[in-house]
Every structure is written in structure tokens, then in C-alpha cells.
């Protein structure tokens, strides 16, 4: 549409939005569809005006909102879904922190530099080093900031794959909800307004190209793409995009990774699609690393989403148990390698027909003792229990003698302090002598998008054409690309979300205001 048509968008949006698929191509040029950016004409009024609008209510969005309110801004958070929190409420609530008080208590020596180095190694050197350092530098202070709102951590530090040292604090609830709920409470206490079922449709810019708001559908129902009423939202200082990744957008992820078909499920919430990313790209944002899509190596094919296996494996099997090929009863990878390496190894394990051979991850009662999901996993028959190794072998049709020899070998490695098979770090390992045994079948799921829009150290979105920032547009968390390079380490999404959300908020607070007219 032309600029003048753009002004009438809200009146005609419902009618027009169904023509999206027909208005093919060259949309940035002629704007034949509603989803392209619109320039605001003259002093056209907005339905709602705030200093700062945050799109998305996960770790990045809520951290941005709370921080912006602390900086004295009027803040609105919108989320397209019927519940707040996105993926952040359904993950494990584990945050990588370099230099936490708990690390110090436990005598674990860690540093910002070591965390940067670990993330660079996992990222295959593809990381945006400036943003990576920015994140790592502020994890310890951000953890304390979260504690101020009532976030409670378990009293021990966990060792996740790819990290050189134990550096994971996990919310007491074993869920990101243990972080999101206190943040939402804090936001509301500070006067942040929150609107659910409000979906950004297209950006609104002023004549200089600065983002001053967006067209949105309110009372939107996610399962009906064009549902809801069109409203114009104005942001005097700018918009912070905390819109996450596209792990559930099967069509879009297959464009970049054709093998990630619908046969591969995801740990993400159903709204994790590329819609917001596309709007940023149509505005001129620069997408990086869109083909770097992470598979979580800790999930089970015997349940949906994260399920009960993820925590059982990250807290039990991987650090304190072993993973074997059921055909041989033998280990075939380093259970504490980074996610990419583990997921690749697991997925390469196939029979002559190319069908998956699900590996068996197991540990004993001592190794599983901190896995709060154990009980539920057993109840739903995802996690199985065996009194001895013969029974375990028989449960999964494994060769019993070979399995027992593998366990004996493993115990020798633990005693000698050296994994002769795969060089796994043994700081958290235990000897596996006594049953009962707990085991799961494993297969990866689509978990995290390393790619997203390129940002600068102010969390401003950078333009493809000039590599200079787009005025008024900020992004934080999974919506951005580059921080993790080729593969993110566990616990680093919460670290990134909280730190970059706060960073965006601090910088947007310092931005000059534009005057916007409210209807």
C-alpha cells in the first residue's frame, strides 16, 4: 500500500490480511500487503502510546520491561499468546553465571573470560565477540538483580555440557517460571502494563525512518492468524523486540535446514515462529546465522516437548551416568560434549534402513537423586526402573555382558580420573556400582535458534544496507543472532535474555523521545 493507504491500515486490516498470500513478492517495494512497514503521515494518532513497548514476555522481554520501568519509563509489554512467558516458562530455569556466590561457596573457580572462551569454543568461533562479552560480564550482577525480585536458586551449582566448570544455577522450581513469575510481579509493581493476545503486524516509522510504533491485532487468537482488532501502538523512545526464535515454524526452519522436518518435534511453545523476524527483515534488519538451529540432546521420543527426560538427563544421566547404544551396550560419545556434538552423534545412530536407534541414557539412584522429574517420568513410563544391570539390559534388549563390562570400564575411568573412551570431564561423575537403575530412550528436539537480527552493543538493531542502527528499534534475547555462534551452551539463553533485555532497556531509556498523538 502507499503511505496514505498505510494510514487507514487499522480500518481495513481485517479485510485485507487474508490477501497476504496473494500479494506475493516485492512487498518491500510496493507494499501490496499489510505486513510491510508503514510510514506515519503527519500527526496521525495512535490508540496507545508509551515511552517503551516491549514485544514478547520471556526472559528478555520481562527483564527489559522491569529495567525500563526502573529507568523511569512508561512501559507496555505485548505478547501474541494467551499466556505470558513464551518458552521461558516451559524450560528448565537454568542460568549460566560466571562468578556466582554459590560458585564461590563451593570453591569453584570461574571467570568471565573462561565463560567467553567456553561459548566461543561451542560457537565454533562464529560468535559476535562484543555481544558475547557483554552477556558474560553481566551474568553475576543480573543473577543478584533477579534475586531482588524473589527468584530463588537451588543451593548447588550444576555442570552442563560444554562448560569448563560447574556454573549453572537453577530456579528452585526446576522451571523458568521460577524466574518469569517474579519478573512479571515486579513489572506490575513498577507500573508496567501487560497486554496478552496482541500481535505485532507491521512497524510504523516516521519520515526519517525511525520506528515509532507498530500496527497490531488485539484480542488476537493465535490459532487464527488474522483474528483480532487492528490497533496502532506508539512508542516515544522505541520498541524492544524480544520475540524469541522460530523453532516451531517448520516451513521456515526447513528453508534453512531441510532435514528439520515435521518428524522432528520441538521443545518450544506453539507460537515460536518467524513472523516477527520477517517484519524486522522487511524493515531492513540484517539477519545472521538463520541456519544455526539447535537441537536439544536431552529429550526423549517417548513424550512431548521437554517432558521429564530433559531434566533427568541434564542433572542425572549426562553428568552422573552414561549413554549407550542399545545394540552394543557401549558408550559412543562424550556425554558432556556441547549440545551440537551430542545431538549430531545421537542422530547419526541409525540402523541399516536409516531408522533411528534411540540410545539409552541411564544412571543409578544416587545419580538421579536431584532429578525432580524422576517420579513423573516413571509414572508416565518414559523413565524406566531396573533393579540390576541384567534387568536393565533386558528392558531395552541390550547385550547384558557387554553392558556390564561397559559399566565396569566406566567405573575404572572415574576412579583413575580419566575417561579413556571419549575424554569426558569427570568433575561431577560418580562410580556406578549399585542399583536400582533409571533409564530413558533419547532423541533430540528442535530447541533454540542461534540466528536472528544483528544488533550493536546498545542492543540496537543494525541495518543490512549500512550496518548502522535502525533508529527506535532494539532487540534482545533469542530474537538476536550472533552471540552463540554455531551452538549455544546450556544455561546461556537465560543469561543472554536477562542481560541483553536489561541492556536494551538501559539504552532505550537514554534515547530522545518523539512526540506522538494519542487518539
Amino acid at each position: 500500500m502507499s503511505k496514505s493507504e498505510c494510514n487507514h491500515a487499522r480500518r481495513s486490516m481485517l479485510k485485507k490480511s487474508i490477501t497476504l498470500a496473494a500479494g506475493v513478492g516485492a512487498t518491500a517495494a510496493t507494499g501490496t500487503t499489510l505486513a510491510t512497514p508503514c510510514a506515519n503521515k503527519g500527526d496521525q494518532a495512535f490508540d496507545h502510546v508509551y515511552d517503551v513497548i516491549v514485544v514478547g514476555s520471556g526472559f528478555a522481554g520481562m527483564s527489559a520491561a522491569v529495567q525500563a520501568a526502573e529507568e523511569g519509563q512508561s512501559v507496555l509489554v505485548v505478547d501474541k499468546m494467551p499466556v505470558f512467558g513464551g518458552n521461558s516458562t516451559i524450560n528448565g530455569g537454568a542460568m549460566a553465571i560466571a562468578g556466582s556466590a554459590t560458585q564461590k561457596e563451593k570453591g569453584i573457580s570461574d571467570s568471565v573470560e573462561l565463560m567467553v572462551q567456553d561459548m566461543l569454543e561451542s560457537g565454533r568461533g562464529m560468535n559476535d565477540v562484543e555481544m558475547l562479552k557483554l552477556v558474560c560480564q553481566d551474568t553475576a550482577s543480573s543473577a543478584i538483580w533477579l534475586e531482588g525480585f524473589g527468584v530463588e536458586w537451588k543451593p548447588f551449582v550444576q555442570h552442563f555440557g560444554g562448560h569448563s566448570v560447574p556454573r549453572i544455577l537453577q530456579a528452585k522450581q526446576s522451571s523458568g517460571a521460577g524466574i518469569i513469575r517474579p519478573l512479571i510481579k515486579a513489572a506490575e509493581a513498577k507500573g508496567v502494563e501487560m497486554k496478552k493476545q496482541t500481535k505485532l503486524e507491521s512497524f510504523i516509522t516516521d519520515d526519517s525512518g525511525r520506528v515509532i510504533g507498530f500496527n497490531a491485532l488485539v484480542n488476537h487468537r493465535y490459532e487464527r492468524p488474522s483474528s483480532g482488532e487492528a490497533k496502532r501502538f506508539g512508542a516515544r523512545k522505541g520498541v524492544i523486540m524480544a520475540t524469541g526464535g522460530f523453532g516451531q515454524d517448520i516451513a521456515f526452519r526447513q528453508i534453512h535446514q531441510p532435514k528439520m522436518t515435521d518428524e522432528l518435534t520441538s521443545t518450544n511453545h506453539p507460537g515460536a515462529n518467524a513472523d516477527a523476524l520477517k517484519q524486522m527483515m522487511l524493515l531492513g534488519a540484517n539477519p545472521v546465522h538463520l541456519d544455526q538451529i539447535q537441537l536439544g540432546p536431552w529429550t526423549s521420543p517417548d513424550e512431548k516437548g521437554f517432558g521429564t527426560a530433559s531434566q533427568f538427563n541434564t542433572i542425572g544421566t549426562f553428568p552422573k551416568g552414561i549413554v549407550v547404544d542399545p545394540r552394543s551396550g557401549q558408550r559412543y560419545f562424550n556425554e558432556l560434549a556441547d549440545r551440537r556434538e551430542r545431538a549430531t552423534k545421537i542422530m547419526q545412530n541409525r540402523d541399516e534402513k536409516g531408522q533411528p536407534v534411540y540410545p539409552i541414557g541411564f544412571t543409578n539412584a544416587e545419580g538421579a537423586s536431584r532429578a525432580q522429574t524422576l517420579e513423573w517420568g516413571l509414572k508416565y513410563d518414559v523413565i524406566k526402573k531396573a533393579e540390576n544391570l541384567d534387568d536393565l539390559a533386558s528392558l531395552y534388549d541390550m547385550p547384558a555382558e557387554a553392558l556390564k563390562q561397559q559399566v565396569a570400564d566406566w567405573n575404572k575411568y572415574v576412579r583413575q580420573g580419566k575417561d579413556e573412551q571419549f575424554g569426558r570431564p569427570l568433575a561431577s561423575a560418580i562410580e556406578l556400582n549399585l542399583g536400582p537403575w533409571y533409564a530413558v530412550r533419547m532423541w533430540p528436539k528442535v530447541h533454540y535458534c542461534m540466528g536472528g537480527v544483528r544488533v550493536n552493543a546498545k542492543s540496537e538493531v543494525l541495518a543490512l544496507l549500512t550496518d548502522q542502527h535502525i533508529e527506535g528499534l532494539y532487540a534482545a534475547g533469542e530474537a538476536t543472532g550472533g552471540i552463540h555462534g554455531a551452538s549455544r551452551l546450556g544455561g546461556c539463553a537465560i543469561a543472554e535474555g536477562v542481560v541483553t533485555g536489561r541492556n536494551a532497556a538501559r539504552n532505550i531509556a537514554n534515547k530522545n523521545s518523539v512526540t506522538l498523538k494519542q487518539a
Copy 2:
């Protein structure tokens, strides 16, 4: 600029283009810079009008131009550089062909399916399988088509890394010029017009969003970005983008691969930047795999660009010699692995300080006999000659006994038909018994961009927003993304360029025409 301002672009382009860097951000929204797409107003006239305009004059561009002329279209080819041919005239002129006459003569059994399988393996399954099959199916017929214009191949078939069988035909001249020159001659004979120093600045669309031409700078001098006179080019059927990759665009490639700094040189011509890609993206094209940037494993740090080492290695060292670490005199990778694996292995070879340890590739007189660059390499002291292995060891400060043992081991592998070290295929291998020996130091260079815009089987560019085609916009060759997945095999760029260029031309010829007014 607004639509009406867009119409005056050619008059003010020279003045305005220097404001590009200042008109930061949100350009697709408000068009404050000239580089954004412009909608054509009413019946505004064009300076030049053709049925089809091809941008770029490499393998893809010239194949498209010749094919379009054969389909009865009036055709213009533009190239921003002062010479035609782009990278295509400065590469080795090697084309992968499944089912060539020469293969049949030599008794080599090959198939389209096997070539697809090899490329999928190298591409780590990230390939666009539909486009991949389209390319492989038409290599044999396209080779014959090229022969019809006077392209002459060497009378033998070469075995490049990652291919299961020997399938490479190479232009007699050992250079892509041996293909490009006949194509240019054929194009001119068929009435194709060719304009050098003509740089696409921004697309022009009609009210429906269809691409009907572009603004360009003519008499452009590459080293002065805004030089030249603004002209409007109209294309009744559409524009074919054959604009190659961005291997020389250090800033852009570092956004995707931060390690590919200016310390890493490139085999590409100096104009190989992301300018055209960015214009397609701003128009709404969908970029894929931009971070998949290939390093050529056959180059030497002792000369610029392809130099003399590339042919010496691809035709000599890799199939008929071995590559060793000078510190140990030992091989450390499969010399016929795909490019990605070899480049990675070479670049991982570093000393305690992280400085490169250049491996030594060598073969004997028999192995080097077909390397036409041998003489020049020796003359410039890039390739070195040694009468015996002791002298070779001494030239590069290698342990002589270990080197001799490695050569003896290698000869045993060749005799027994099995490489016990790295499982290298031995079809082309020879026993290395007699000197003299010829050797080079090796280090990779940035060579090819697997990424680019997403296209469909008609070679139409697909829109980010809808995954439907953008009317009037076609792309072919390296400018497109997805065919090669994570890593291209040698010889497959010419195959891709020729086949997809012709494919684009055949499909654009069937497109309806729009009426354009000529000034």
C-alpha cells in the same frame, strides 16, 4: 524517497548517493536512500528497454543470455566491472558432469543420482534437493551445449575431492576463460548486447510489485562507488540476477563468519561484494545459508588469488601426491575429502602460539605431469623442486626419516588398494617412488558463497514473507543459495552456473511481457 521522488532518481542520483551512509536504517520502510526499490509511476520512460536483462557476466549470466537469445528474446547483459566474466574467467574451468562422453570412453560409471548423493553428503544434508537434482540432471546436456559454441575440454576426466568417481572435465585452457570467451562470442553472434561498467543500484517495480527494471550507474568505475551516470533500464519480461557471491566483501562476510578477517585472502575478483544481494533482500527476497562460506583448500600463502598452486594441487598433489605436516613429515587428513573438511584440517594446524603451520603438499614428476601451472609456479618460487626426499625434507625443515617412512607407507596403501590412515579413495593414486619432487606450502582462501537468495525450480526469486515468487525477478549461479548446502564440491559451480542460467532463461522466455515506454 517517496514514489514520486523515485521517478526523479536518475536526475538526482549522483548528488544523493553520497548520503547513503547517513540515511541509516528503515530504508525499506521510508526509502530515505536511493538504494531501496522504487515503484514506477504511470508510463514513465526508460533509457533502455529489452525483453530480458541479465546482471552479471559469469557462467550463470552468459549461459542465461545465450539461452534467452536462443529463445528469441532481446537480451542485455550488464556488468559493473571493466571486464566481463567476473570470477568465471579466473577460475580453473573445471565442470562436474554426470555422464559425459569422456567418462563413458574411459569406462567410468557415473549417474545423476550418484552426483546428487555426493553433493548431499558434502552439503551435510542442508541442500535444496529440488534445485540440486535440477542442476545434476542437466550437466551432461549442458556440456554438449557448451561444446557447440567451441568450448574444448581436456581429453581426460579428473577426480576432485568429495566426488565418488572422476567426473570433472576441464577447459583445455585450464581456465574458465575457455568457457566464458566462447559464450560471449556466441552471445554477440545471437544479438545479445553487453554493457560493462554498468552497476545496478536499485530495482524498479510496477504497481503490482513486479520487477520491471532497475536504476543503474553507467560508465561506472568500480573503485569509486557512486561514479557514473544514472540511467533507467527496463525489462519487459524480467531481470536475471547472476551477480555471484560476496567473497571479497570482508565486512559482510565477517558479519556471518567473524573469523574470516582481512588476514584471509580470497580467490575472487575485487568486485565480489554483497551489494546486489542486499538489493534483492531489500526487495523482499529470502536469504539462505549466508554463513556458509567456502574456503578453497588448494591455495598457497606464497602467492595471490588462485595462483599456480590451485591447479598443481587439484590435479597433482591431492589425487596423486600427499600432504604432510612439516613438523612430523606425516599426513594428517584425507587429501580427497570435501573442501570443507580439508580446509578445516589445514587451518587447525597451528603452533603453540596459534600461528599457522602451513602443510606441505607434494607429488613427483609423474603426478605433476598434467599440471600446466607447474612451470610458472617454479618460476615464481611458489612450487619448489627437489631431486630426492632428503632434499625435499631439508627445503621445508622436515624430519627426513619420518617423511621417507610416510612415503613408503603411502606406497604400500596404494599397492594394497587401501589407505589405512584416512581411507582416501585411491582410484587416481600413484606410487611415489621416483623423484624429482614438486612441493608447495598450503593455506586456504575464501572461495565461494554457498548462501544467496532462495529460488524455485523456475529460477524465480522467492519472497521472504510468502515463499511465493517475486514477479519478474530471477536468479542463477552463486547469487542463489541452497543448492550446495554447507559445502560445495569442486567443479559444481560451473555446473550450477550453466544449468541454472539456462533454466532461468527458459522460464523467463515463457513469461508474459509488460509494455514499457522507452525515452
